[in-house]
């Protein structure tokens, strides 16, 4: 388990343990609770405190520190795009020469309609693609047009690619690294 907040005495976080020692089990329970989302009570951090045996201020400090450390990437509303009408989701995969993949990935990351972009290993012979990008769009036609524009603008006509539209979501939820299920 990769716990950024470790038990006091080993490598305590910079601020959290100055005053009161914080229970490592409490922090683990807090991670588990947070994977389910913030409670919709007037004092959600107090509710989390009651669920985890920490104090409200310990909960808030831990969350702030996890944000600073980058363990929490963002804290806010997690939208289900499909419900809103983003009906076309395409995973576009490219077979990019290795020496060019970092540059192209960095450029694609700046394209507004590309919502995710990462490099993954090829698995030859079945899977020749090493650069993945995701387009969340309102319709397949619109996504295809966006892709056509991308290929023209970035000069990608010679880069083999494949478009995998999703047809059904069997599951879509946040990562549960420390909680069960």
């Amino acid at each position: 388990m990769n716990m950024p907040l470790r038990q006091a005495g080993t490598t305590p976080g910079p601020n959290l343990f100055k005053t009161n020692p914080v229970s490592p089990w409490g922090l683990l329970r807090l991670r588990q609770q947070l994977e389910q989302g913030l409670p919709l009570t007037p004092r959600p951090y107090q509710t989390l405190a009651e669920q985890t045996g920490l104090t409200e201020s310990q909960v808030m400090e831990a969350i702030e520190q996890w944000q600073e450390q980058g363990l929490i990437k963002r804290l806010g509303l997690v939208v289900k795009h499909r419900t809103l009408g983003y009906n076309a989701n395409a995973m576009v995969v490219w077979n990019v020469p290795d020496e060019y993949v970092a540059e192209l990935g960095a450029r694609m990351a700046k394209v507004p309609f590309i919502t995710l972009c990462y490099q993954r290993p090829r698995q030859l012979p079945d899977w020749p693609y090493n650069l993945f990008c995701m387009i969340h769009g309102v319709s397949r036609d619109r996504v295809r047009a966006q892709l056509k524009g991308l290929i023209a603008d970035f000069g990608l006509a010679d880069i083999p690619h494949s478009v995998l539209f999703s047809t059904k979501a069997y599951r879509q939820r946040g990562g549960r690294y420390v909680s069960h299920g």
Partner: protein, 154 residues
């Protein structure tokens, strides 16, 4: 789904930067000109309508534990059954059907790499289907909190 102006504003303003203070929903309400109760009610309703999956932190995969994108080529007539089996495996948080020979794509998570490998081995044995395992080498952009293009939506 059509949302009213206040719901849109909630989403536009708080996909990130939700306040960390004793009464965060009250702080949001003040910013948006609503009451605390209205904010809580609206968020509850948006969750119930499946517009929001949750209010909460999005954890950084690479720091939060181990995760991996995997795919299997299920016989088309067995896709639903294979998808159900995948969902029964511990740690699966995304699972999509996609148009390709590799037609089921899922993300598996675990507390650490070793557990992740064990879970994938176990699932591969159960499914008896060859599995692509595609760990992330480098992320260039990983954030689904993009601005909603309300005008383009149906």
């Amino acid at each position: 789904m059509q949302l009213d102006a206040a719901d849109r504003q909630l989403i536009d303003s708080y996909q990130r930067g939700l306040p960390v203070c004793e009464r965060p929903y009250q702080a949001m309400a003040q910013t948006l000109g609503l009451t605390e109760d209205e904010v809580i009610e609206r968020l509850s309703a948006l969750k119930a309508q499946q517009v929001l999956s949750r209010i909460g932190p999005v954890f950084e995969h690479s720091q939060a534990g181990a995760s991996l994108l995997a795919a299997v080529a299920a016989p088309p007539e067995k896709m639903d059954r294979v998808a159900t089996q995948i969902n029964l495996a511990p740690g699966v948080n995304h699972n999509y059907a996609r148009e390709h020979t590799y037609n089921l794509w899922f993300v598996m998570t675990a507390p650490d790499e070793h557990t992740l490998d064990e879970r994938l081995d176990e699932l591969e044995r159960k499914l008896r289907l060859p599995m692509l395992r595609l760990p992330m080498i480098k992320g260039y952009h990983i954030d689904l909190g993009f601005p909603i293009d309300w005008e383009a939506l149906p």
